[in-house]
Symmetry: C2
Subunit: 395 residues, 2 copies
Amino acid sequence: MSSDISRIYLDNNATTPLDDRVKNSISEALNLWANPSSNNENATKAAEAIAEARNHLARMFNVENDGVVFTSGGTESNNWVIEGAIQTARKLNRNEIPHVITTNIEHPSILEPLKRREEFGEITVTYVSVNPLTGFVTSQSVNDSLTPSTCLITIMLANNETGVLQPVEEICHLIRDKLKEKSPFLHSDVAQAAGKIPIDVKSLGVDAVTVVGHKFYGPRNGALIFSPRGIRIPPMLLGGNQESGWRSGTENTPMIVGLGEAARIYNEGYTNIESVLRQNRDYFEELLVKKNLRNSHVIHFLGSPRLPNTSSVAFLDYPSHGCDLLEKCRTFYASTGAACHKNECSPILKACGIPFAIASKTVRISFGRSTTLAQIDTVVEELEKLCSPLTENDF
Amino acid sequence: MSSDISRIYLDNNATTPLDDRVKNSISEALNLWANPSSNNENATKAAEAIAEARNHLARMFNVENDGVVFTSGGTESNNWVIEGAIQTARKLNRNEIPHVITTNIEHPSILEPLKRREEFGEITVTYVSVNPLTGFVTSQSVNDSLTPSTCLITIMLANNETGVLQPVEEICHLIRDKLKEKSPFLHSDVAQAAGKIPIDVKSLGVDAVTVVGHKFYGPRNGALIFSPRGIRIPPMLLGGNQESGWRSGTENTPMIVGLGEAARIYNEGYTNIESVLRQNRDYFEELLVKKNLRNSHVIHFLGSPRLPNTSSVAFLDYPSHGCDLLEKCRTFYASTGAACHKNECSPILKACGIPFAIASKTVRISFGRSTTLAQIDTVVEELEKLCSPLTENDF
């Protein structure tokens, strides 16, 4: 690991830097230290700042203000959805084991809570496989997985490693058309998509989405955002009835204000944000083709709808695995989806049907809002050097 | 509600201001935006800052570093303990309904999750009553409540309204002596005591304590702190295996750093902190006696071991209820434990056996580290005016 902090940062799907305006908003909101439930002037100011943040989030996802429930992050939101949907199902029918449909490429904060409950015999789960040709699940395969006990369908909007968009809207409409008011709770983890592409919760057709601040230049908290259609799961954290009873716990005012500011910034410039990300990603992918890397690399799911900022690229001429390649890189940071062992590759890529030999040489490049074309030139130049077949330079 | 933000703040049990050093540490840590699990320099710095914070917390509560698990706050910690202890019990014996022992004066983040599970028939609960003469439960009454199905005993160390300390250490030793390795999980919510009196998790004899930053000049996050004895409950939030698997979710570096700084500040000056709090509280209570309020006020549980900063005082000569009194005060902020209705009083005071006529006239004064004796003079002067029997000034 280099000690050069000025490297080009191309791991924005892991976390983004804080926008300076977000940073300032948090620092200022540290002065709003009063308990928002108290009866004093600072408390009122804190409550107002939270209300404003809620408004920005509601606008970002096209929901009502009361649909926004602030949480400590995506992991809490996802665990809550699973716990809540199962609890509701149990209450409705105590004798039936609830069934959940998800995909085999979800974030661990979806897969792990499901697996634990499955192991304990509390639920059954169908992990719908993505089509290895496209990287996304089909609405038909989700539909085919429905059972009378299905209480939850949770499908991410964009995969964090491949960037491939899943047909959440199509799935929701298919399920709702078929099951009407008997539809299971429909959830989408939009952590990786939010702040990169517009997300309209109403037209998506979901009951709730998971949102995470630090994936779009905001802080490390998040939200569970409910559709105005009004179907909810019971709260997971009980206590002082904050967030209108949906999530107890004294409000973390500075974090909430920061998340609101990140949403405000996105609302203000979303068209430009998306086009900058896409421009960078496309420039990078075109450059790979133009350079000597032609025929020696594979961009996964190039033909599928993808996030505008993510390239999942296998460098086939590189003699070792992706982690090894990244360790050699000196100009930029990126990541692979797996621990750095020769015999391992990303479980997500494996689940996408990518053969081990290719998956193990794959690197995820995730561009940010401030990535420049000149930086991409530098990065591709280094990749070109490292991935070229042996030349005299190697001797 | 006045708009005078310079009022004397005597509601430190609701929340404390952020210590300026905590505020600065958070603002600086906003620069440590990298994902601590990533492999780059900023990530290493973030991980190191988190490790340092963990060390301060471990020192504050006399546990090993790996006993400190950062959470989003006390509500999460308390909900986790309940969920985890019940889950463990169910795993051990599927046919038995788990039993929990707690008190009738716990925080809502203990009482509400218990009540929900009780309503659903998932558990049975014994709410041990505090002795109305002392304001605390006896170890005997806890002992008498034990059943073979008891999986959790959760008893707060200090009550947030009365400030009365509960005999947690005595209870733990009694239970452990009796049940040995078959003891249920022993938990104490020390949210209100931490940062006011020293807490030694080892000698307290508990398996875990709930800690909340914003009660001791830290931020709105918290921790669940496990004893080195090594008995743990399973994690509640699953996903990316952060916090050594005990609490998943990308670490909220700035909040964790701030909590660590609050612990460091306490560790540095805890003797002085406690004596300042006690001096203020004692001065206030003596002044009430010296002034015209003699015989017209009651300090609840004056003879019991109490937090050094909390006075729960009923102003008997005041013609209306406590909320009304506080609304008339212009020099300071304090609180009552209940909504401002004539027919309601704090459920905690009610549970402590305080008659309605007295409980409804009760105000909680909670002093802070920077309260001055001169401020207390001002406060008592105003209280004296408002609570004196009618004089010519009222005509």
